[in-house]
């Protein structure tokens, strides 16, 4: 559960200035976990953007702290996506009459609760009986009526079963990561060209079809933003992102 990961994580120190929250990032995480801030209200993308800015500001890259940050953000995203999924299930039920949907949910909960209670009863039985010792000794050959047939199983089955366990696992294929590293630079170059030519464009207009490539484009946008080269705007939630050139080189802080 992400909550555990968050509990053991080292603090990630940086200040946030969001609509719903103003203060250290770690405090925000704590408040979300305590349900004092609704995760719905928190724009995770905004947190990422601020962190990238912080990195640009500090001018140094702390791998440990950044890894922690990625873990925490991943935990937040997981929590949020779970809520989205729940919403989806409920939406599915929303096609029904709300009362009927409630009855359906009730049915499922009631059924599940039975097995949860059975699990408790099984735990008690386990405590009482699982440690009991039974004899497990093979019958002496002299007492077997039909001695086990010699060579009943093929010996070749043995190395076949063992070999996969002993073989070194293949080296993980990291080519896709290498691709990413290269294409982020390429993508930045491409976006800078478009920005220079047109002064303004939308994310939808420049993003490639491929999901991974789109993610790279998005990172490149954040990079442009954090470097003070572009301003990002979004008119509505989940709407298209408008990217505009910053006319003069600006201080990073002024771009925020």
């Amino acid at each position: 559960m992400p909550a555990d990961a968050v509990a053991v994580a080292r603090p990630v120190e940086f200040e946030l200035d969001l609509d719903v929250f103003d203060g250290p990032f770690d405090l925000l995480i704590t408040l979300i976990l305590r349900d004092e801030i609704d995760i719905w209200e928190v724009r995770v993308s905004r947190i990422i953007a601020e962190y990238v800015l912080k990195l640009a500001d500090s001018g140094e890259f702390d791998l440990d702290a950044t890894s922690q940050f990625v873990v925490l953000v991943a935990a937040l995203l997981e929590m949020k996506s779970r809520l989205l999924l729940e919403e989806e299930v409920e939406e599915e039920l929303e096609d029904l009459d709300p009362d009927e949907a409630a009855e359906r949910l009730l049915e499922r909960l009631v059924r599940y609760s039975q097995f949860k209670s059975v699990a408790g009863a099984l735990r008690l039985r386990w405590g009482e009986h699982s440690a009991r010792l039974y004899r497990s000794v093979p019958v002496p050959p002299a007492l077997l009526r039909r001695p086990a047939p010699a060579g009943a199983l093929p010996a070749s089955a043995l190395p076949a079963a063992l070999a996969p366990l002993l073989r070194e696992p293949p080296v993980p294929d990291t080519s896709h990561l290498a691709d990413l590293a290269v294409s982020l630079v390429k993508e930045l170059r491409r976006l800078r060209l478009i920005l220079g030519d047109e002064g303004e464009f939308t994310f939808a207009a420049v993003a490639p079809e491929d999901r991974l490539q789109r993610a790279v484009t998005f990172f490149a946008l954040l990079e442009l933003h954090s470097g003070g080269e572009a301003v990002l705007r979004q008119k509505r939630h989940l709407g298209d992102i408008v990217v505009s050139r910053v006319s003069r080189p600006t201080l990073v802080a002024a771009a925020v």
């Binding site: 709300p98 009362d99 039985r125 009986h129 039974y134």
Partner: protein
């Protein structure tokens, strides 16, 4: 001791699985009624106070087991450890398999509301659930059921000894409380 009881004692001693009375009757060439009678004699002789082993009815048959107060000595000798405790997730999955068997992974997941792939694999590795062929449905998913070891470790004669599922139902008042909460939510959403 009764002559037949002696012979049953030998069978029970040698067999590493619980023996159903009819199998013992076949081996001894006598009636199941005679076996039952001789077993009653044996049960009287093998009470925990008198012997280090006792007779137990488990997993569809009769078997000897070490008397509970002698188990620690045996563990010191053999180094056998108690089986690791089952986590709540494993117990819950096992409950689903025990009552609904044979079940597919998807059916177990549907009841529990979460993926049960890891739990089923772990239960299988512990010998508590077994694969029992494949369902005759698209994708031919694997069917899981419980086996002898499940009955032994939970001290059950057979699956029939599991209490009926209905006994674990929520109280009417609890159901009503949940219903009220769900309908209130529905109301809010409608508004």
């Amino acid at each position: 001791m009764h002559a037949l009881a002696r012979r049953l004692e030998a069978l029970l001693f040698i067999s590493s699985r619980p023996l159903p009375p009819d199998e013992m009757a076949a081996a001894c060439g006598c009636s199941t009624a005679a076996v039952d009678e001789a077993l009653a004699d044996l049960r009287v002789d093998y009470t925990a106070e008198r012997h280090g082993v006792t007779l137990r009815d488990v997993a569809g048959g009769v078997t000897f087991a070490v008397a509970d107060d002698c188990a620690e000595d045996v563990r010191r000798l053999t180094g056998a450890e108690r089986p690791d405790d089952l986590t709540p997730a494993l117990l819950e999955t096992l409950a689903v398999v025990a009552y609904l068997q044979p079940v597919t992974r998807a059916e177990a997941a549907e009841v529990r509301g979460v993926s049960s792939e890891w739990a089923l694999g772990s239960l299988e590795e512990r010998g508590l659930v077994e694969q029992q062929g494949r369902a005759d449905t698209p994708g031919a998913p694997i069917l899981y059921c419980t086996g002898t070891r499940f009955l032994k470790l939970f001290g059950l004669r057979s699956l029939e000894e599991l209490p009926p599922l209905e006994e674990f139902s929520l109280q009417a008042a609890e159901v009503d409380a949940i219903r009220a909460r769900l309908h209130a939510n529905a109301e809010r959403r409608r508004a």
